[in-house]
């Protein structure tokens, strides 16, 4: 991870059945991660509103992650399909606001993928670090 003195603020929405459990497993396995991440638990990634992500960025978060169940494994059948579709809209909205697409991450982490959770978080934090502070707040 580059050391440019900038510590990004990262918010992640994790679904109860898969990614939150995967994060728990990462914890149980003591997989170390950069301390920039704050997790908000939801029952389904399909609950994550566009408004939340916009609010996060406009309030000063440097990176936002939405982590759900793998497609086909959603506890609520197809909630994550909607998440995936919503992301297309989100990407466009954020682009219009001047927020780089790499600041938003959508990924699928199952309850047994503690290692993947660590990987995804570490890589994302690193990328956001490279990007520097959120442009709309710094401006």
């Amino acid at each position: 991870m580059i050391d440019n003195g900038f510590e990004p603020k990262i918010l992640a929405f994790c679904c109860n059945w898969c990614s939150y459990a995967g994060a728990d497993l990462a914890g149980v396995s003591r997989l170390q991660m950069p301390p920039n991440l704050r997790v908000i638990r939801v029952m389904c990634s399909g609950r994550v509103s566009v408004e939340w992500v916009i609010k996060a960025f406009s309030s000063g978060m440097d990176g936002v992650m939405v982590l759900g169940c793998h497609i086909g494994d959603c506890h609520y059948i197809d909630g994550n399909h909607r998440t995936k579709k919503r992301f297309v809209l989100l990407g466009k909205l954020l682009g219009a606001l001047g927020i780089e697409p790499d600041r938003l991450c959508l990924d699928w982490v199952s309850a047994s993928e503690g290692q993947k959770f660590q990987d995804v978080v570490t890589k994302f934090t690193s990328r956001v670090k490279e990007l520097g502070p959120n442009p709309i707040v710094a401006a």
């Binding site: 603020k9 918010l11 109860n16 939150y20 459990a21 994060a23 728990d24 990462a26 914890g27 149980v28 003591r30 997989l31 170390q32 991660m33 301390p35 704050r38 997790v39 908000i40 638990r41 939801v42 029952m43 389904c44 399909g46 609950r47 994550v48 509103s49 566009v50 408004e51 939340w52 609010k55 996060a56 309030s59 000063g60 978060m61 506890h75 609520y76 059948i77 197809d78 909630g79 909607r82 919503r86 660590q118």
Partner: protein, 564 residues
Amino acid sequence: MADVRVGVFICHCGTNIGGVVDVPSVVEYARALPNVIYAENNLYTCSEGGLASIREKIAEHNLNRVVVAACTPRTHEPLFKNTCEDAGLNRYLFEFVNIREHCSWIHMHAKDDATEKAKQLVAMGVAKVQWLQPQQEYEGDVLKASAVIGGGIAGMTSALSLANQGYEVHLIEREKELGGLVKSVNRLFPTNVDADKVITPIIEKAKANKNIRLHMPAELKDVKGFIGDFDVTIYENGADNVIKVGTIIVATGAQELKPDGFYNYGKMDNVVTQLDLEGKLKQDKKWIDDLAGVTMINCVGCRIPERTYCSRFCCITAIKNAWILREANPKAKVVVLHRDLMAYGVEFEEYYRKAMEAGVLFLRYNLDKPPQIIGKEKPEKIKIHDELTDSHLELPCDMVVLTTPLVSARDNEAVSKMLKVPLGDGMFFLEAHLKLRPVEFATDGVYVAGSARWPVDITESISQGYAAAAKAAIPMSSGKIKVEAITSFVNIGECIACGTCVLACPFNAISVVDTDGKMHAQVNEAMCKGCGTCVATCPSGAIQQKGCTDQQILCMIETLAGGL
């Protein structure tokens, strides 16, 4: 907010949290947060001592919100919620903050950062808890009556099981007699017992059981309602009849594929299906003595590109009938042509071996070089390509039996629409989860058993019949269903009745209704699973989720951003 009084309990978890996070400083920090009246730390908040402390402090400080910062909510949330309830506080006025799995355990060498993170997470939890509202869990009544649609072996099993458990059962059968496909069968593997001898007593029991109301013949016309309260309309005796039940079991079975276009079926005499053969075997058997040879061709019309599945028990049906013919006429050349012999398990494997020992010939063929029937009006010989040795042989054959799959019943589509349950591969009913919920639907209160779901043999149909009965008995046993209060709710004034939420809901829990002239969405709490997908899709913010409203989450985000 009117008089919110928050209590915060921060756990050391031995040294698991305390060894990394400076818990006392987090407690200090928590005390200074808005509306926090009381904060303490515990060595193990989940211990008897910790729980007792929560109860005491709720009483002592008149707390009306509680935040626990400890391990993962996935383990102990119910424990702490129960504790709040014991102290007289509504269990939904509680928030759990994870500072172990998500903090101390993953930042073991960054203690200052971990402490800072813990503070922020606690602040977010405290911010959210203020917006939580007391909730009552929805409790619905469940009628202790069930409708079983289909009077075959699976349906009769479900009906009898529920009746024996004391429930009222309405058994609805379209034909004039019970028994379904089994009635057409001669003998049953793996014991070769006479089918009639065994199925007749079951039919008699179903007819005689005082808890079973038999509707036969009757046609399913319409289904309204939801778990606990279904209105099932059937057409019986020339009129519509509405039956009120709490649960429904779908046991509508399947039908044998008639292999038109395959191997001269319908064009040549003595080219029959296994079910045709069963019928012939049920009558007189003298014709077997005249047979020079019988060849059974397995996987006709299945395991092909147009219909890829395996129908599970047809191999064993072919083995059974081949063995019966061979035993009746040891001189006949009895051959089973297969593309994998599906004799799985203990009894079937043994049955296969015994059939081989009795002289039934098993040969492997493939679709590139299918067998050819030689004959004019009926088969006289058959030319076979043996896949394993890549050689050809010609055998005497005066009867060809085509082993065809079960395909879905003709009115599955109509039934699926009436019940609002989905169809999947092959137009068979689609269960809630293929592995762990095979006899349930995503829609509560409706269950499925037998070949309506996928081709299965009698033993498996019966097992599924029992399983569906157990699932139906669950809500009926208490006569109530209780739903965790994380369901969605609609602000009628803001709703524009666009119907987007109705489409978004995976469980058909939302509908658009008219209340005093205003059209709006309405959530059926009995069916809502609390995923929140509808909330995120609503364009006007009119629908919200209890315990996860936009306001609650947005204030968490604001707190996080503000406190940095």
